[in-house]
């Protein structure tokens, strides 16, 4: 029998029972939509995470005392950075960074303090760690530390699109080991950094950088930034550093973070896709159910077809053609439906991602990222293929039953 004839007969039969056909197809639409929306969101999430993580300088390692507070056992010292640089191979630069506790930044004449992260760094060494992020919008790297220079992150100097600080302005910063004793120290803005975006181990946009010699009153060192000669060595170097400190320090290696993020995403994606596959299996059982009923109802018709010369495989093809059409139509509607659903979900998830207590002055795009669902051709074709396969698979049993019917029995059927 010609394919065209089989398909047109199947189509006629489906048209005859519009409600039943639509409901059966709806099952497939929902199943496919579930898989497509979850997978495209997953892909979107993966690509935004990957974009963020790949912005990390993969050749920079951060070393911190074990236990994030650092208050307890091991405390890093200024000397540690030097010994890392001198004793561990493949290390290009190692520099220590101090966090100013409870920093309060007062701008020119203002008595309103704003809270930003304040880091005490060696400017030259720190620039070597992040050369790509040390582009100045205004000013430059201070040549001398004479008049207490300070470098402002992009957001520190800009708020709601307006410039709030300029090179040469005076900024007051309280530096103390424990509040609220000390008085603010005056700093002169030496440079304002260009926006560097998310994706470094620290967010430079919301930092102010002060010379390390201004923070000597703060005991210990909070972090050591290490730049390795080749990004491939990062993991080995991190291991060497940990063993040098008898595992009393922890290290942050961006490439490991990237790998972990990816494997978690893989797992989550597969997990969610399997859950949504259940919807498709349920739809498949729906097809099996409806087709079994349909075969029973059409027993006599099957008998007639066999009497006029239809072979078992003709009958099988006719019923499988119906299942295929249902799967195909279901998938064709399911893919856009799933993509639409993913858009809505992606939008909703993004707008809920504003962290509690976040600075409302910072526009949302800068603190969270949007999940844009990704609908790859592979996903589209895969979904259509999957929809058809499930339909044919579940349609097989009833179709087989129809094909194997004894013509005489079938003809007698009332």
């Amino acid at each position: 029998m010609k394919r065209k004839t089989v398909l047109s007969m199947a189509w006629e039969n489906m048209k005859q029972r519009k409600l039943r056909t639509s409901l059966t197809t709806l099952g497939i639409v929902i199943g496919i939509a579930a898989i497509v929306s979850i997978s495209s969101l997953g892909e979107g999430f993966r690509s935004s995470v990957t974009t963020q993580v790949t912005q990390f300088e993969l050749d920079v390692i951060m070393v911190m005392p074990s236990g994030l507070t650092g208050s307890s056992q091991t405390r890093l010292t200024e000397g540690n950075a030097t010994s890392i640089q001198n004793n561990i191979t493949d290390v290009k630069v190692a520099t220590h960074v101090k966090l100013v506790p409870f920093p309060q930044v007062f701008k020119d004449g203002s008595h309103n303090a704003t809270t930003f992260a304040a880091l005490g760094v060696n400017f030259t060494e720190f620039k070597e760690i992040y050369p790509g992020r040390f582009n100045f919008e205004q000013g430059s790297l201070p040549e001398s530390l004479g008049d207490n220079p300070i470098i402002l992150g992009h957001e520190v100097a800009h708020q709601k699109g307006e410039i709030t600080a300029e090179v040469g302005d005076t900024v007051r910063l309280v530096i103390s080991s424990s509040p609220p004793v000390s008085l603010p120290v005056n700093f002169t803005v030496a440079g304002i950094l260009e926006e560097s975006g998310a994706g470094s181990l620290i967010s430079l946009d919301t930092c102010v950088l002060v010379p390390a010699n201004m923070t000597t009153s703060i005991p210990g060192v909070d972090m050591i930034f290490v730049k390795v000669a080749e990004q491939d060595y990062a993991e080995n170097v991190a291991e060497d550093i940990r063993s040098m400190f008898n595992n009393q320090v922890s290290t942050l290696v961006p490439s490991i973070m990237l790998r972990n993020a990816n494997s978690i995403l893989n797992f989550v994606e597969i997990f969610l896709a399997s859950i949504s596959s259940i919807a498709l299996v349920v739809a498949g059982i729906g097809i099996m159910n409806i087709m079994t009923v349909s075969v029973m109802e059409r027993t006599r018709e099957i008998g007639i077809l066999k009497a006029v010369g239809a072979k078992s495989r003709n009958i099988l093809t006719m019923f499988l053609a119906e299942a295929t059409l249902i799967g195909l139509i279901g998938a064709l509607f399911g893919v856009p439906a799933g993509y639409g659903l993913a858009q809505i979900l992606g939008y909703t998830m993004t707008s809920f991602r504003l962290p509690q207590g976040a600075n409302p002055q910072i526009p949302i795009e800068q603190i969270s990222f949007t999940i844009t669902p990704v609908l790859s051709p592979t996903l589209v074709l895969g979904a259509i293929f999957f929809g058809v396969v499930v339909s044919v698979l579940f349609g097989w049993y009833p179709a087989r039953k129809a094909a194997k019917m004894d013509p005489v029995q079938a003809l007698r059927h009332e």
Binding site: M1, K2, T5, M9, E12, N13, Q16, R300, E301, G303, I304, L305, K306, A307, V308, G309, A310, K311, S312, R313, N314, P407, V408, L411
Partner: protein
């Protein structure tokens, strides 16, 4: 005359609950090309079973059916289907048309199964519908046709692949006398024009009048054969 169809010692029994009930107990006869045969018998005489076995729809427990010298018992299910498609046309008491399809589509089904081209299929279906006098009703569905018209569609469907044998099971059983008679006349005319062999099973003795030969079936056995003009 050459034998087109031969039944040789056909036996068939059905299981009713736990007992086997014989339907045919050894039926043998031959039909020549172009012959018009009526098998007459009361209900329960095994007429329909014989029809199904002659028509390659069912297999006998014992005995053989030969069509054009070919032994049907040697054929697979698919090959039997092929025989039904090419060599046999069925006409049933309850017409057995597909209710969702128009008269034309119903007639076209065997052509579609036999892989005719669209053009040839259209012409053939139209031609047989003209032959049974339904060319102006061919776009109606069975529910829009009278009983007589539906049976004409069924006859057209049986003829469309130009089979050598047409088997009819109580073709008039569901029609009033006049219409039934018209259908019988139509079949008789077609058999003469097309030189096709007709085997009609019925319980209606009136049909025997048009037969070349009448076979009397009772309790699964042939009780007598009457050639046209003879008395039984």
């Amino acid at each position: 005359m050459e034998d087109l169809l031969e039944a040789r010692g056909i036996k068939k029994a059905y299981k009713m609950g736990k007992v086997m009930v014989p339907a045919l107990r050894g039926v043998s006869f031959k039909a020549a090309k172009g012959e018009f045969i009526v098998v007459l018998g009361p209900s329960g005489s095994g007429k329909s079973t014989l029809m199904h076995i002659l028509g390659a729809l069912d297999r006998p427990d014992e005995g053989n059916v030969f069509i054009d010298g070919m032994d049907l018992s040697a054929l697979s299910d698919d090959e039997l289907a092929e025989v039904r498609l090419r060599k046999i046309g069925f006409v049933f008491q309850f017409f057995n048309l597909l209710p969702r399809f128009t008269a034309f589509k119903n007639v076209e089904i065997p052509l579609a199964l036999a892989d005719f081209s669209d053009k040839e299929s259209y012409e053939r279906a139209k031609e047989v519908l003209r032959l049974v006098g339904l060319e102006d009703r061919m776009n109606h569905r069975p529910s829009e046709l009278s009983g007589g018209e539906q049976q004409r569609v069924a006859i057209a469907r049986a003829l469309v692949n130009s089979p050598s044998i047409i088997l009819a099971d109580e073709p008039t059983g569901n029609l009033d006398t006049t219409t039934g008679w018209e259908i019988v006349q139509l079949m008789r005319r077609l058999s003469e024009e097309k030189k096709q062999t007709f085997v009609i099973v019925t319980h209606d003795p009136a049909l025997a009048e048009v037969a070349d030969r009448m076979i009397l079936l009772k309790d699964g056995l042939i009780e007598g054969i009457k050639v046209r003009g003879e008395r039984l």
